[in-house]
């Protein structure tokens, strides 16, 4: 008889929504309190936070917008006001939101943010630059641009670190000082990093419960828990959240409660690419009934997997080192880095198969995905499939295609087990 799989929902994850909502509500009302507002892309918002600015983050806002179900209507405004569908959906969301405000078009009020005093535009991906330039051209927003190349080859890393560190010191810090009219607050940056280090350490302990067989929670649960290591960075509420999450996972393990009922997963999967924020439920419904669970992924591992490297005593240096030193956070965007990271994850989390999510409008994680599958298949005998889609835009998602590819993956895993 077929096993009827179903998700065992975690209790703690219900507590994230109020934290996240409060963050965005504070941002929406910041100007009323006379606070400065920044928007950010790439790993840059910490500099605005250190200065006490309220700050949005490009991907965080997009995830939030998708999560509250506002993605589609904001994308429609973007389309109506001239944006082309093949540009990245995060770009279009921001243009749509800006245009809705400028033209008084009615959208979900929770999706509206105040126009910023500064846009800290980290060009990790070139499109982050296009979005900032577009916002400047259309709405006159001041830009603080930072070029943040991802490292193709580790031997390039030292000179890229120097390049980025110099930008932090020579461009970023003087500009935020100028905008805020006060000296850069190194102490606050250190405090933020101290909290981040504690949260990321607790989060890593939670990751241990992905390793258990059966697993105690899913990547999707972690996906909704990302904010404390991301844009809620420096907020002590994140420590409390992860302590409770850790406790719940420990209890689950003791009581033998798996992530999916009745007795845990049949397929342990790796997920590559962004999380499909607007479609988490949709994908869950395609995994769970088949006994498949995603347990780790490249994007969710971007949030400081090595808290031991965070040195709050040297905040600016540590920030450069996390991305361009031992932390290797930008290297993971290149195919070599991807192979290295996924190899570790396959080994640590006993992965059976790879789901490579290929976003049609954001190619940053798509780079060489077919090659990466091939390399890892040869190395570990683990199959992988590419699933095409988008994080936000429903026009780019095809149910039939997702189902066919996932079925193929399950079959390949089964046939290799036989």
């Amino acid at each position: 008889m077929d096993v009827k799989y179903k998700v065992n929902r975690l209790q703690t994850t219900n507590e994230i929504r109020p934290l996240v909502d409060k963050h965005w509500a504070d941002l929406r009302t910041a100007k009323e309190r006379g606070e400065k507002v920044a928007w950010a892309s790439g790993p840059t918002f910490i500099f605005a936070y250190a200065m006490g600015m309220k700050c949005h983050f490009m991907a965080g806002y997009s995830a939030y917008c998708g999560g509250i179900g506002a993605g589609e209507e904001v994308l429609k405004v973007a389309e109506m006001t001239g944006d082309l569908p093949e540009t990245c959906s995060y770009h279009r969301l921001h243009m749509g939101m800006g245009e809705a405000v400028a033209r008084g078009i009615d959208i979900n009020p929770q999706a509206i943010l105040p126009m910023p005093d500064l846009m800290v535009a980290g060009r990790l991906c070139p499109e982050m630059s296009h979005y900032a330039e577009g916002l400047n051209r259309r709405f006159g927003i001041r830009i603080l641009p930072i070029d943040l190349p991802s490292v193709y080859d580790l031997k390039d890393q030292p000179r890229l670190r120097e390049f980025v560190y110099r930008q932090f010191k020579e461009v970023v810090i003087p500009t935020v000082e100028d905008v805020c009219g006060k000296p850069f607050d190194y102490d606050r940056m250190s405090e933020i990093l101290t909290v981040l280090k504690e949260v990321a350490t607790l989060r890593n302990q939670c990751w241990e419960f992905f390793k258990t067989k059966p697993a105690c929670w899913t990547l999707w649960d972690y996906g909704v828990s990302i904010a404390p290591v991301f844009y809620l960075m420096g907020n002590p509420a994140g420590v409390a959240y992860y302590k409770r999450l850790l406790k719940e996972l420990q209890e689950r393990k003791e009581k033998g409660i798996p992530a999916i009922a009745p007795d845990g997963e049949k397929y342990r999967l790796y997920w590559d690419g962004w999380l499909p924020w607007a479609f988490l439920g949709k994908f869950m419904r395609k995994f769970t009934p088949n006994g498949a669970v995603c347990l780790c992924g490249r994007y969710p591992w971007e949030f400081f997997p090595h808290p031991e490297l965070i040195d709050p005593e040297h905040p600016v240096e540590t920030w450069a080192d996390l991305y361009y030193g031992e932390g290797r956070l930008t290297y993971n965007f290149s195919p070599h880095g991807t192979v290295d990271l996924i190899s570790e994850l396959i080994e640590d989390y006993s992965i059976d198969g790879l789901v490579m999510f290929s976003s049609k409008t954001c190619r940053i994680m798509n780079l060489s995905q077919p090659e990466v599958i091939d390399v890892l298949d040869k190395k570990y005998g683990i199959p992988g499939v590419i699933v095409e889609g988008d994080m936000i835009d429903p026009a780019m998602i095809s149910d039939a295609q997702i189902e066919t590819r996932l079925e193929a993956l399950y079959e390949m895993i089964d046939s290799r087990r036989r």
Binding site: G82, H130, D156, F163, H336, P370
Partner: protein, 380 residues
């Protein structure tokens, strides 16, 4: 003049064969550079043959297994050519992986399937504020030069570099002269011929190309043409990294339009800006790269508006409209386009956009759009 045009038409009809033959004749190694911003003067100074990588004209086949269908034409076509073994004559390849996300596709695929004996990744920066940008550009170019020296086992002296830069500058001046004559008498060349002239410069040795251009210019200067006053002057803009299908250029002309000047990558953008020979050659190459105009949407420039530049070009040429050509799935251009379009609307400029795909099934849809455009701007 006709002889030169025939020669150029021949080499552009088969760039693969031409470059392979060139390599044999000159007994030099060939280094392919992915367009648009690699300063190939350095490769030339290393006594190698630099060629700008091109979009082939065949449908993508094996390449599908390596790159998604939603990558731009040249990305898919180049990977396809490479994995099918059509680029065996390239001993080396250079990629500037910061131009756009898609340019980041290549190095890993090439390493695994083509294994050129030389491969270099450049991270040229965005044109952002701060001395660090220029310093870093120079660091990148120094690294590029050193890697070539290691590859050939020969030092590249400043003297060699200056000589190569001079040859390249000469080529730019000659191409500029071709354009100048074309602006005076746009009937003198077909738009496809102009594109072929610029394109051939990208993969012929510049010295050879300079000779051809010198002869061509003589012919162009001497030739009188009957002005076709009823033709509607238009300026095509964009088409980053790759050749526009020649059929589209023909279509524009067949519909009664004429192109006195352009703002295309395989056009005036390629040879814009000389390299200043006064100071250090690498510094000068860096400065050319760091020049904000012509605005390139891949370079992170927001202080100058591309739309203003295009309008100026249109007015300088008494043209009546602008045709934007966007390569399908080219995010840098696609992200910029809405602002470009708004600028056209604000200034009351007749403008249209056509999307260029690698595999054109039929020109009918493009024809219909261009037909209505030409009617609006006062044609037949």
């Amino acid at each position: 003049m006709e002889k030169v045009l025939t020669e150029i038409a021949e080499v552009t009809a088969d760039p693969y064969g031409y470059v392979a033959g060139l390599k044999e004749r000159k007994e030099k190694k060939v280094i392919g550079c992915f367009p648009m911003h690699i300063p190939d003067e350095i490769i030339h100074a290393a006594d190698l043959i630099p060629v700008v990588i091109w979009r082939g004209n065949e449908p993508v086949t094996w390449g599908h297994a390596h790159v998604p269908p939603y990558d731009c034409g040249i990305t898919r076509s180049f990977v396809d050519d490479a994995v099918r073994g059509k680029l065996g004559f390239m001993d080396g390849m250079v990629f500037h992986v910061r131009q756009c996300l898609q340019a980041g596709e290549f190095p890993f695929i090439m390493e695994r399937h083509v294994k050129p004996s030389y491969q270099k990744v450049l991270y040229l920066p965005a044109l952002y504020p701060g001395d660090v940008m220029r310093d870093f550009t120079i660091t990148e170019l120094e690294g590029f030069k050193t890697s070539l020296e290691e590859f050939t086992g020969k030092k590249i002296s400043d003297d060699n570099l200056n000589k190569s830069i001079e040859i390249y500058n000469k080529n730019r001046s000659l191409l500029e002269r071709v354009y100048e004559i074309r602006r005076e008498k746009p009937e003198i060349l077909k738009a496809r011929e102009v594109m072929q002239i610029v394109w051939s410069s990208m993969f012929m040795l510049k010295e050879d190309h300079n000779k051809l251009l010198t002869e061509l210019i003589k012919g162009m200067e001497a030739k009188t043409v009957e002005p076709e006053k009823d033709k509607i002057r238009v300026i095509p803009v964009g088409c980053l990294c790759q050749t526009l299908q020649f059929d589209i250029l023909d279509l524009i002309e067949d519909l009664g339009m004429i192109i006195p000047d352009d703002d295309l990558y395989i056009g005036s953008r390629y040879f814009a800006n000389q390299v200043n020979l006064d100071g250090s050659p690498l510094g000068a190459l860096a400065d050319r790269y760091l020049t904000r105009t012509p605005v390139c949407p891949t370079k992170g420039v927001w202080q100058v508006h591309w739309g203003d530049e295009a309008i100026k070009k249109m007015r300088d040429n008494d043209a009546r409209g602008i045709i934007s050509i966007i390569v399908k799935y080219c995010p840098p251009h696609a992200c910029y386009y809405p602002d470009f379009k708004s600028k056209m609307e604000q200034e009351g400029i007749n403008a249209i956009m056509i999307e260029m795909e690698h595999e054109i099934i039929t020109l009918e849809a493009i024809k219909t759009r261009l037909q209505s455009f030409v009617e609006i701007i006062g044609g037949v």
